[in-house]
Symmetry: C3
Subunit: 404 residues, 3 copies
């Protein structure tokens, strides 16, 4: 049943607190998920663009019980999946869907996935979101590490958020924040609590992720993080391009070696293409800030990811330009680590450690580039960060993987 928050309730909420933000717990131990919505009007706020937030539950199939929060800024509707690691399902601005079309058509409840099934590829049964958290114990391909099978891309995307809070600033620009908490915990093995936050503003066609990895354990622990950010048409099309300030690029594996020359260009949907992956070391500006850009062939649509190389020093470019039905999609993936199994990454110094009670912050801003001017401006920004510094193009992978 749809519950419209009563004006009375709102007034009392606003009266109790003097703080500049309105808060609402959408889900926690004693708050069951329920259909609910609220608008700027309900809140008595008058931004230039009215906004609304809605919570809904899906039913049927493997999506039974999955909870989704839609934040409509007035210019972009961002859908977040608390049941799946606070992943971003998609963002829709006008008639442009930012995200991709996966053969997986349901938003799958983790209860129905065996990550260890399919030889460690069970994760693929739920993969269809725009932003998928990989981590935080490991992020890479399935395989044995120290005698244990690490299934693909870690557990985070299949951990339901344990506390979800919506927070809206009462003063301009009326920032909208959706917070969630992921608990990656196992006695003796790990005690990570990830505080996730997605923020945006009324009228915005951008949003930011602010994640804090907390090692609540008493021991230092290896960790890895990778933000699998996926885009298909119309942002991706034949001749689409990728741009970033690049210090080094290398092919992920033998398959990618043959395409090094064209690593920044995308093909048309290509039968039997499967995927190529490139390992990128980005340059940052004097503060470490960098920008990765995907734009269509015409150059009038795109998306940029702003992040900091002190937080996320490496970047995987996943080019999956197979057929539309198989998944015509590219992944822009800032991370602490590559997509190799963790067993390969230690030698590359790509398995950092987090001390007890320490935190690591991961911030990424996703901006829809809605026209040529926005794309050009983002590409200019990339060029400015590159600042004529050289790019090393390697022709051999960093890791010698076993033949299949």
């Amino acid at each position: 049943m749809k519950t419209i928050v009563s004006l009375l309730g709102l007034i009392s909420t606003l009266m109790i607190t003097n703080a500049p933000a309105w808060d609402r717990v959408l889900l926690d131990t004693y708050t069951a998920p329920q259909s609910w919505e609220i608008s700027s009007q309900d809140l008595g706020l008058k931004p230039a663009k009215p906004f609304s937030v809605r919570m809904r539950t899906l039913h049927g199939g493997r999506q039974e019980g999955v909870c989704i929060v839609d934040i409509d800024t007035g210019a972009m509707k961002i859908s977040v999946v608390p049941t799946r690691g606070m992943n971003v399902l998609e963002a829709v601005a006008g008639n442009v869907r930012i995200g991709w079309k996966s053969p997986v058509s349901e938003v799958v409840n983790p209860a129905f996935i065996e990550l260890n099934g399919r030889g460690g590829l069970g994760w693929l049964e739920g993969f269809n979101e725009m932003v998928v958290r990989c981590g935080y114990e490991w992020v890479g391909h399935p395989g044995m590490d120290k005698g244990v099978l690490l299934p693909l891309h870690g557990l985070a995307a299949n951990i339901p958020a344990s506390k979800v809070v919506l927070s809206i600033d009462e003063d301009p620009p009326y920032t909208i924040r959706l917070k969630g908490e992921l608990k990656e915990q196992a006695f003796k093995l790990v005690n990570f609590v990830i505080a996730t936050e997605l923020s945006t503003e009324p009228g915005a066609i951008h949003f930011s992720i602010h994640d804090t990895l907390n090692n609540e354990g008493d021991y230092p622990k290896e960790y890895e993080a990778l933000y699998h950010s996926n885009f298909g048409p119309p942002l991706l099309d034949p001749g689409a391009g990728f741009s970033a300030p690049v210090q080094q690029v290398s092919p992920f594996n033998e398959r990618a070696v043959g395409e090094v020359a064209d690593w920044q260009k995308y093909r048309e949907p290509t039968r039997d293409y499967d995927e190529t992956v490139f390992n990128v070391v980005p340059y940052g500006d004097e503060n470490g800030e960098t920008l990765a850009v995907l734009h269509n062939a015409t150059g009038d649509l795109g998306v940029s990811l702003g992040f900091n190389i002190q937080q996320l020093p490496v970047f995987s470019l996943w080019k999956n330009t197979d057929t539309l039905g198989q998944g015509y999609v590219t992944g822009l993936e800032p991370g602490t680590s590559w997509a190799y199994n963790r067993s390969y990454q230690r030698a590359l110094n790509r398995v950092p450690t987090i001390g007890p009670k320490e935190q690591r912050h991961f911030d990424i801003t996703y901006t829809f580039l809605a026209d040529r001017s926005a794309v050009d401006s983002a590409l200019q920004q990339v060029k400015k960060i590159q600042h004529d510094r050289p790019t090393e193009v390697r022709n051999t992978p960093l890791v010698e993987l076993p033949k299949d």
Copy 2:
């Protein structure tokens, strides 16, 4: 809470549509499962036998949240489990239960099963239905195939249906249809959507399954299907018999070799019997139609499965005449494939391929044979299809399996 559809709602439904069928969505993305029922009277229909359909949800144990739809034709109550691949739990006609008694006493929610547990035998923790869909990527015994463990009998039986629709013809014979959709999807690996349908009629003691396997992917894919149809007492009893038009029969493994002579007869509940399996290649009539019959020793109770060998060319006869408590049951299993691990079936040409956007249809009619005349008539039909053609009885298995 039980919801009786209001007459008003029905009238509006009937008025809106001019179509000859009344439809109701019982479960989909925005329709949560709920207790509900409807009768021919509610619908204003006047079949010779009044019928009803009911939806209910189970609680407690591993059956928490499991949804069941009971179709009572007036002569037979058929229970279908949307949460478990639209499997048929049982059909009850008068005081005869068509189905079997498994040690598994709950209708298990797939959320609580690890198919990859127990060395790939996790499926056995939920096995108790009359008709269990096996497939559609593989159907056989657990084992490694191309480096990946395939757990027993495939995923279908543990995929919750994503859309369930009840449809009732408004004209005689007032056919009742229950449709469901199973999504067997994993990025890069498979994109099968199986449209299931179970149909019956008021007053009927039979029902039919009409399944359509859709390869929604862009690539040809191997597939397998097997309909694990299971019957215990009173249809199965000491001296019960199996009959079908048989072109070839062979023992599944060494264990079955010793019983080839008696392959069509059933023992009493037998301690330490475990199971024997026979691989059958049925004959069909000029249109490929064939009939498999199980009948009790007296010959006055039975069940027949009508299917087409162009759709389901092979048949496994599973004789599990162990003790009543262990499971005294036989499986009549029309399929595209045998019950071997997929790795063995390719050499036998029993792993077909389905092209992109292609469909495969699987239709089976289950008929309760309620008296001697019905049994005799079915056995006559088998004889007619056999049409004096020879039966090859092999004494060696088609596959040389490794010793345990």
Copy 3:
């Protein structure tokens, strides 16, 4: 929503039955879990200490849908988790929490755990209770046994109870009983039904577990049981002690060999300590009754476990005096078996068999020792049972385990 049972309902319940107990089904096939509570006052009972029982459901994260029953005797609040094998989450008496603080902060719904993940250590993702049932097919460390991976500590703790009944005696001492049923069933493999019962009394600071393992199958089956009973501060502290009448004690593994001399004493929270385990064979009195005691350094707080060595002949003492954050906890674990993988226990004669339709009873009484006098009295009782009989202290493990 909180449902207060109406007086009317109570009166009718009481009138219908002449039996001396008031019963209420809290959960079964057609009774969904719901928020509910009842008090001695509601029942018209007048014990010296008023008591109450409450049922609640948790939400968010991996605890979505987990059901908890709190029994407040007036002197101790005992929390039981039907969704997790009727485990006892904790017991709180005054300001003393009997239980422990695990890094796992949620009460995890088994739907979200892959026991076979993490190399068979998936169980650790849900481990935080005071009393955890291990069994009943196996109880030990993960590893291969007869070609199948047995994940840690068996399935029981992750089986949701299929029927939960609250029963309250209407006559003094108004015994409160909470019964649950666990079904550990897999076709061909196992058919165990465990009837669990927890009983206590108004005003009590003790409770008892009465479990009955039923082999409902037709064949004898191996089984194992172990009650993982876990305590942290304030019962456990530096200098805390363990006491029991001991016939034999031996180190579980090489790690424990070095600490045999101090096996009954506990350290302060110790970095990098991890754990040591000792295998104990307790003495019983002439009826087999025995007592295991944990007490703090001062000797004015403790807990005792009373059990019978005819039911539970061996005992594992798990000393996990690592840091507070890692889990400063000790396990007092009466069992049929040690904590070794089942493959090692057969040679030690620690894998008993249960015949078809046979039962095994496991009874343990947990008593909070609230002051010095209670601790002293328990230690006296231990001494009395020991009755000056000798203790064999072995310096080598019973099993030679492979090096890591």
